[in-house]
Symmetry: C2
Subunit: 335 residues, 2 copies
């Protein structure tokens, strides 16, 4: 049932039956280290190119998720996913190895939110099982968006660290006791307030995150305190603080329970700049730390808000500012 | 209702209420010249970069489509779309100028099929009006995927000509007499038979096109002759012939009524190689020639099969073969 222009309350809450999380070795030194299903021993993982590594990461996560559920690929109706690499190569090239229908998505680092929301909407009627997956890799993202790593370029104060990791979630229609369910989806709009610094993604994405959170709360009629945690995708610490400020100024909400996967995933001693970023930041964090804490009953109701900056490496050089988007989904164990 | 693993018959056929087509000047010399809503006088169209031109193209097509329907942006529930440019910049940057929720898609040149199928599925329940759009531009695609145009590189015999154009379609729930409706959707799988020549997209995409067409016919229980036309997105002449051969050899279907937007859009005297290609090829062709012929009653039932090659400029250089995908949708005026 549509509660507003952007928010849907799912007539049938959709179960997140299982997840699989695969992290890089740097991520395995961070705060979520005890929650990962698998850790790569190095950034290459036996592949000749970093792009091939990212393809292998997605493939391994899908296989891992299917294995945990005792399912074969023919039991899955569709893969919905994406990543940051040009033409979403890691996702498309991983999908070719499964005999599963595929729809590729791109909304930058918010793609996991787009996938989970689309999956939950599609499953109201026709589908039984959908896999949602996104990934990122520090080395593929660095060389595509910034500088060759060999150059040893100094990061700027507002910059973030692209997460090497992937998270894959299996959505099912049947409810399973104790498993988190997607109850609401809020589809974001593109927002651009004129930020042009491609090394300050937090500032570029904050207006979109604020707009989606405030819209979700208003359209769902929920108080922020309804949620144990409102958690954005990859704002970083600076971006999270801007979101907190904007939600208060623009929406009148003082969010005590706001946090951010990118701000939480690393130990500050690792010096990841403002924190983690990338399309794998929110999917890895959700499919490991957040999902497992929900299963253990430590978190019962969360609002997950994957955030994305929609630039390419060329658009800042062409004088464009940075549009951004955020999608929100309410995930609850007690419905 | 699901008829098979990949094919859905829509309980509520979804009306294609209106379309808007915007073509480049080269396309306006081709076979569909009498069907375009708007033609650009040159490839720049007053913009400093070709990417900015493609953004303006999408924006103009959305505005044009809304204007034809007498709608304001707030009447639209969602934009579903994509293009070929890295991080789907033309689509995302156009979407920032509309106050409409947005979900970005990427399945290369088959994205228009993905958008229309997703739109039709999402509208079964919650949505009233969805805009589907894809675009391509000869100059943005050439410099991203191949060589700088200034180099004057000779095209190879199997190569195609990227269409400069965009097509935007408005989907609605209410049926309107005489307007085409989407009745069936078939979601494609990624197929890769090992083609490595990035200048022979037709060969790379043919197995995916064949797989989707044969699957659609089998799962829908329809005979090919049910359709006035089975039309792929941008196979080109060589690719179309391979699809015809494969459907006969692999599926047992001798498709007399098979054709291809890329093979039809240009006059052979224009020397477009094997024909048109690009994410705008099928959306421009459908939103002009095919849609208007359906409105005029000259075509009553078509199977539209947008086709896409999922490579990036880097993957052939990294030794990868070319995965491809095709999505099919049945569009009918008499349901």
């Amino acid at each position: 049932m549509r509660l507003g222009r952007q928010t849907i309350r799912h007539d049938q809450p959709i179960t997140i039956a299982e997840t699989f999380s695969l992290a890089g070795s740097y991520e395995a030194k961070g705060n979520f280290k005890d929650y990962f299903d698998l850790v790569m021993k190095d950034d290459e993982w036996g592949c000749k190119t970093f792009e091939a590594t990212e393809i292998k990461m997605q493939k391994t996560a899908i296989e891992g998720c299917l294995q945990k559920c005792n399912l074969t690929p023919d039991a899955v109706d569709c893969i919905l996913g994406g990543d940051l690499i040009n033409q979403i190569v890691p996702t498309a090239f991983s999908a070719r190895d499964f005999d599963i229908p595929f729809m590729g998505l791109y909304n930058a680092c918010s793609t996991f939110g787009e996938a989970m929301n689309l999956g939950a909407m599609l499953m109201q009627e026709q589908f039984e099982r959908i896999l949602c997956i996104t990934s990122s890799h520090y080395a593929t993202a660095e060389r595509q968006y910034r500088f060759p790593m060999e150059l040893g370029t100094q990061p700027t104060p507002a910059s973030q660290w692209t997460v090497t990791g992937t998270g894959c979630a299996l959505l099912t229609k049947e409810s399973v006791a104790g498993k988190p369910r997607i109850t609401h989806s809020t589809i974001g709009k593109v927002k651009d307030l004129g930020i042009t610094d491609a090394n300050n993604m937090g500032a570029a994405m904050a207006p979109a995150a604020c707009d989606t959170i405030v819209t979700h709360l208003k359209e769902s009629g929920r108080d922020p305190a309804y949620y144990d945690l409102i958690i954005t995708g990859d704002m970083g610490r600076l971006g999270r603080d801007i979101v907190h400020y904007l939600c208060k100024e623009e929406g009148g909400y003082d969010l005590d329970n706001l946090n951010d996967c990118g701000s939480m995933i690393y130990d500050v001693k690792q010096k990841p700049g403002q924190g983690g970023s990338g399309a794998g930041c929110v999917s890895l964090s959700f499919c490991s730390y957040l999902y497992k804490r929900m299963i253990q009953g430590e978190l019962k109701k969360i609002l997950l808000v994957p955030t994305g900056a929609l630039l390419s490496k060329d658009t800042p050089l062409q004088g464009e500012s940075i549009p951004a988007i955020a999608h929100a989904l309410a995930i609850e164990t007690e419905v």
